[in-house]
Symmetry: C2
Subunit: 357 residues, 2 copies
């Protein structure tokens, strides 16, 4: 079992730190170690591992049936009505406990601190998740294929005068039909001058003639996210936006070319930025180059100016430079890469030609 | 300005605690106090308030344009590339700082603890958010109307043999077209025996003849969430499921009847549970009765067995009993109520008749 290998790796980290056990709260980490399903943004389970690799997954009534159906390799413990999961934990867990310091809230830390001696796990499970095995890569690719088929089908309806919300409705309709069990994140559909908001949710704004539309979409399939951005034009863009498009594309391709085992996230970010500086747009590239993708849509490794660690084979990262010119418009182009022994493999197949609808 | 009133209320709490200022990190709390847009689940700004009610919203390059366009009443401070927002905070903030102990991660607490004396704000902003003003109620109602129009339109396509994903695609397509700028949460569409998973994302499962489909959906419009569940049948249900439906509906209506100023969340939960015990189903009601709804889809007040505080006018809560019979099926029915001077007003208009498609 894949999950068992992961649990053994965690056990080693527990031993190394001289702890009696580890407490996991992050739904993504719990999923990684047990397969227990979760809703994004809703931490609702506690996973305890002792130093012999015995796991107990503490769930409430609500989640019991679903957890039993999908989680494996751990004992599933149901709390009584009105009993807090931390109370149950006290009955099970050893005194010295590793915790997820980047995830645990201060309140929960203080509650646990009354009964346990808590030590940071220093992100060990998050670090394990940064290196994908072939099964994980396959899931990410399935998710990405679903998104691509959906954008392809939806684009058959694209025409001048549509609103951003109408565009989103067509894309998401097809994402669901292509198998997206949920969305990896809130879809971004932002057109014309609104596209300078890199996080722009769709609105009732109609796409104007010649405007670009930044479309940033992701599915979740078999527990794994995908993440893609394309900038499509509704009517022929003007010369400036065409130049911006080509500059962003060149920047993106230079970073894809440079992505390989051993380069740091910071240096890779620098490659894309350097390319944009040649065309004079680097000041408008207002965010980092990318991020890791997996069970969470944003996870390690760090692929921006803070990324001091070298990329390694098994990393799945996005490469998504963008140029955002206030009051004018924006272009962002994003693919997902798998770092491998030969540089990288592009997991995104959707065309990057400048498309005009 | 509504936000200014809120900021003044926070100022009083800062003074009361003898602090020099407060640091807010929760995107929902920052939105509540400034109108700054956010993506759910992505804390990316720091909001500092000093004891004179002067606010500084620290954002990165990426969010600067959008924040300037929408946030009001605070100074917007842009970090330099590579500068951490906590570094900028040090240049601005007083020494004794109130923090959101339920939201702040242990890591961030420890980083801040090196430079500040940190005191819990004891959820003051979250508590303020529990009492909605008329503008907020209107936004929640707009959001709920969008969801209702969407379910109504989508239901025109419902027929035997559809998959859960197809049902979700039709509903969400119409939610977007009715103005949902995003979804309040991952839609739940779970049919037949799968409906016993209260958090069941839609799958490729076809809805079988006579099966119930639990549909739990919410839009976000003008920053506010709505939340509704209906259980629809694809083909006539059997006698048992019909009985379950009527029992859940009676339970829900008894709780709606009892919802008023002064009752605790725990007692209200008890009303629904007591009703279900008459029909013998209370052991299958495996979760709490409801929760508050607003900028977050799950917020205060607490409406379950842990809810020791009395409801007050201005609370917007869900009432959503459910019965989940393993290997058989499930029914959940959910409305949103506004607690007012006369008991409550039901903000949900969609029919609760047993509908068969």
């Amino acid at each position: 079992m894949i999950n068992e290998k992961r649990r053994k790796a965690l056990q080693k980290e527990i031993e190394k730190r001289g702890l009696q056990g580890a407490l996991l709260v992050s739904p993504e980490n719990i999923y990684y170690l047990t397969g227990a399903p979760f809703l994004a943004g809703r931490p609702d389970k506690l996973l305890y591992f002792d130093c012999n690799c015995n796991g107990s997954l503490i769930v409430n009534d609500l989640d019991y049936e679903e957890t039993c159906a999908f989680a494996e390799g751990v004992e599933i413990v149901k709390t009584n009505r009105g009993e807090r999961s931390t109370e149950r934990l006290k009955m099970i867990a050893g005194k010295t406990l590793g915790i997820e310091e980047n995830f645990l809230s201060l309140s929960l830390y203080e509650i646990l601190g009354k009964d346990f001696e808590l030590k940071p796990l220093e992100g060990v499970v998050d670090k394990m998740r940064e290196i994908k095995d072939s099964d994980e890569v396959e899931r990410i690719e399935s998710s990405q294929r679903a998104t691509e088929r959906a954008l392809n089908k939806a684009s058959g309806t694209f025409k001048g005068g549509m609103t951003e919300l109408e565009i989103a409705s067509e894309i998401e309709y097809n994402m669901r039909r292509e198998g997206a069990v949920s969305y990896a994140y809130d879809s971004i559909v932002a057109s014309g001058a609104r596209a300078v908001y890199p996080h722009g949710n769709p609105t009732n704004k109609k796409v104007g003639e010649g405007e670009g539309v930044v479309i940033d979409i992701g599915s979740r399939v078999n527990g794994y996210c995908s993440d893609m951005t394309r900038t499509l034009f509704f009517g022929k863009p003007n010369k400036e936006m065409e130049k911006v498009y080509q500059s962003v594309l060149e920047s993106q391709e230079s970073a894809i070319e440079a992505a390989r085992n051993g380069i740091t996230g910071k240096d890779l970010d620098g490659v894309a930025r350097e390319s944009l500086s040649k065309s004079g747009y680097s000041e408008y590239f207002v965010h980092g180059l990318g991020h890791g993708v997996g069970i969470a849509v944003h996870e390690g490794p760090t692929v921006n100016s803070q990324g001091k660690e070298a990329l390694v084979p098994g990393n799945v990262i996005t490469i998504e430079p963008g140029v955002y010119i206030p009051n004018i418009g924006a272009v962002r182009i994003e693919d997902m890469l798998l770092i491998d022994g030969n540089g990288s493999r592009n997991l995104t197949k959707f065309t990057k030609e400048l498309l005009v609808f």
